[in-house]
Amino acid sequence: MPSPDLTAKKTQCYHCGETCPNERIQRQEKNFCCEGCKMVYQILNQSDLCEYYNLNENPGISQQIKLRKDKFAFLDDEKIQVQLLSFRDDKQVHVTFYLPQIHCSSCLYLLENLYRLNDGVISSKVNFTRKEVDIVLLTGQTSLRKVAETLTSIGYEPYISLNDLKEKRPAINKSMVYQLGIAGFCFGNIMLMSFPEYLGIDASETGLRSIFRWINFGLAIPVLLYSALPFYTSSWKSLKHKVLNIDAPIALAIIITFIRSAYEVISGIGGGYFDSMTGIVFFMLAGRILQDKTYRQLSFERDYTSYFPIAISVLKEEKEIPTALPDIKPGDTLLIHNEELIPADGILTKGKAFIDYSFVTGESLPVLKEVGELVYAGGKQTGGNIEILVVKEVAQSYLTKLWNKDAQIDIGVKKEEQSKSVSFVHLLSRYFTYIVLSIAIATAVYWQINDPARLWPAVTSIFIIACPCALLLSNTFTNGNILRILGRNHFYLRSAQTIDDVAKATHIVFDKTGTLTTTQQQNISYKGTELTAYQQQQVAALAACSSHPLSKALAKHLSTEKRTDVAGFKETTGQGIEGFANDDLLKLGSCKFVTGIAERQTGTAIFINIENKLYGYFLFSNHYREAIPDLLKKLKGNYRLSVLSGDNEAEKENLQRLLGKKATLLFHQKPEDKLQYIQHLQQHGEKVMMIGDGLNDAGALKQSDIGIAVAEQTNNFTPSSDAIIEAKQLSRLNKFIQLCRANRNIIIASFVLSIVYNIIGLFFAVQGNLSPLVAAILMPSSSLSILLITFGSSSLLAKRMKL
């Protein structure tokens, strides 16, 4: 590992805050980490937009990865434009770009001042929560492509995927907020109107009393007919499937309470229970909105189309023509640039392909392909440009098939399982419904015999008071709060049910590449005769001549400032390189290439030969994410662990040491193998939590009881899963699991409390003398106390765990 230079003070890039390299890139006494960042600074400086840097410290986005010049050429294509634009006429063009990089008020400032950078832009408006910018352009003055390039030049590269073209992302469900607003309005007013009745309005003022009652009646109608709609639809749906869900008793309670109250008001017996009824609806809706809000921003349902680029360069008569992906036909020749994805299966016709299949197979090192070989879709080219001849359409390629197969598995296996593992809340609530029904019947029978006049008051008040709202609230509020806390820590769960699943997991399966290790960094160690600084320089200079990823990594590892002349450079593909560096003959490469003897060795190594003398070799090993060893140590005690890897066995010893002797380590795992392993565990009664990142894990993630996808950035593509965790947060996984487990205890505690409330209420109800006052005190106070307990305890716990 390169030892960090502790003597020199680390300088931060003025633009993005990354540590600057040794050679200074400066401009106006400001340090930058790369030319890209410096360029952005210059652009902003020219347009007098340096306020950007005053709002937040180092707000920029690192520019170290350079973009290809013609990347947005496809935006000139008429067909693609039509799909992207939201409005267009002779004067104006409206377009919305998704910019995942938006993260602070500086971004906001810069993007809303876009008109200063591009004359064709009339205005731009940022929606921060959606990370979108709406841009209004002058028709003819500028093009979509130019705007996209302007955005890219200041570090905000628009993310455009095929998914965007097909459909707009669903709008936020506003109707539930309306329903909540109306329920709140009615609930509040009914409470006020009910006070005179409870405080004992003078019997002489009957006229006034009936006015209050009728106002309450009127206010309850919109709640019954509009605000409570979600409960009716949900319970109706479940009844159609012959299941009793938790919404059914609520809907029943709302309707019964209304009928009973309406009857009381019309016949002039009493004031009814309108306040209780509207209160239930209000609190329940509030809980539901809170739950929805937590994961609105993330889309969990993504398919392969969001993974692929939107367009690709097709070579026709020596010209590059950007073509939308669905228009690619077998027989076309595609030009794939560095860092681009191969969208369809094809035959390599030109260039040298180093294809990074880490996303598909988990193999961390790029695969070399020669002209004439078949390349599969889903790989990423690293190095120079290549040309491929398409043999299969995008929709029929290996990658999409893999995806579709997963989908089939999903339908077949998981459905069955899901119906089995109904959340214990729903289970409890089902019993709850039956218990309430039987109490009601018993009461009815009792009063039928003893005093038929009290039958209906008693039975209806049982339904009113025994509404499971407190039970349900304890669930929704705790879950909602936990989801919110986890989301704040960049661990996003698909639904509340997932919390329960996380808490139940018994076996944790890790993928190696990209999950435990990072793909961007490798540890390089040297074994053999010590190299002098001069020799290291020579090696670095030679390695820098090659475009092979290993050579590049080595050159970077040994990077020196002094220049070394290289002559007679020769590369033997897939074997090694040789050449003269400052007149010394150097040979770098595989064991066979350098020494002539094929030696069995695990791991990836570059052997070094200088002037016909073998010095030693550089060993490449995986770089584990920070704090991963620590996490594994903590998990080791409580869970059974496994690691599945598509890679070779080079890391076996290292991993075994980290995970302990009991852990299972499997290498050379194909996607199907991973899936089968999970199934195997499940057959032995394990609840499996699978943590993976790539498409190669997609099947296993779906099969497991809880699949967690690791993403470098939450906005990046991830395979469909139950949860998404940001890579940096992976080390805190054990804390997250702990919180999910505590979630269950909190819910159970508040369940007990709400049952106590219910028993008190039922005590009055079965006797047929539940007064509206008792109901009005009992129902909101139970809801409110549950709300406080669940919210308070889960937040307190999170604070203690420093989440």
Binding site: L55, L108, E112, D119, F128, T129, G181, F185, E205, I215
Partner: protein
């Protein structure tokens, strides 16, 4: 007694105005982005720079 009725009408209509304001706010998207408007107000639009743009 009739005073109470007038007060009732007044109080409910005031509450109704707030309800309508809330519904309008939701409809016009004021609750969709809670971050940008409060930050936007803090940006100083320097007159010197705005005159600079042609």
């Amino acid at each position: 007694m009739s005073v109470i009725i007038i007060l009732l009408i007044a109080s409910i209509s005031v509450a109704a105005i707030f309800l309508i304001a809330f519904l309008w706010g939701v409809k016009s998207g004021q609750f969709e982005d809670e971050y940008s408007p409060p930050s936007r107000i803090l940006f100083d639009d320097k007159p010197s720079s705005s005159t600079k743009t042609k």
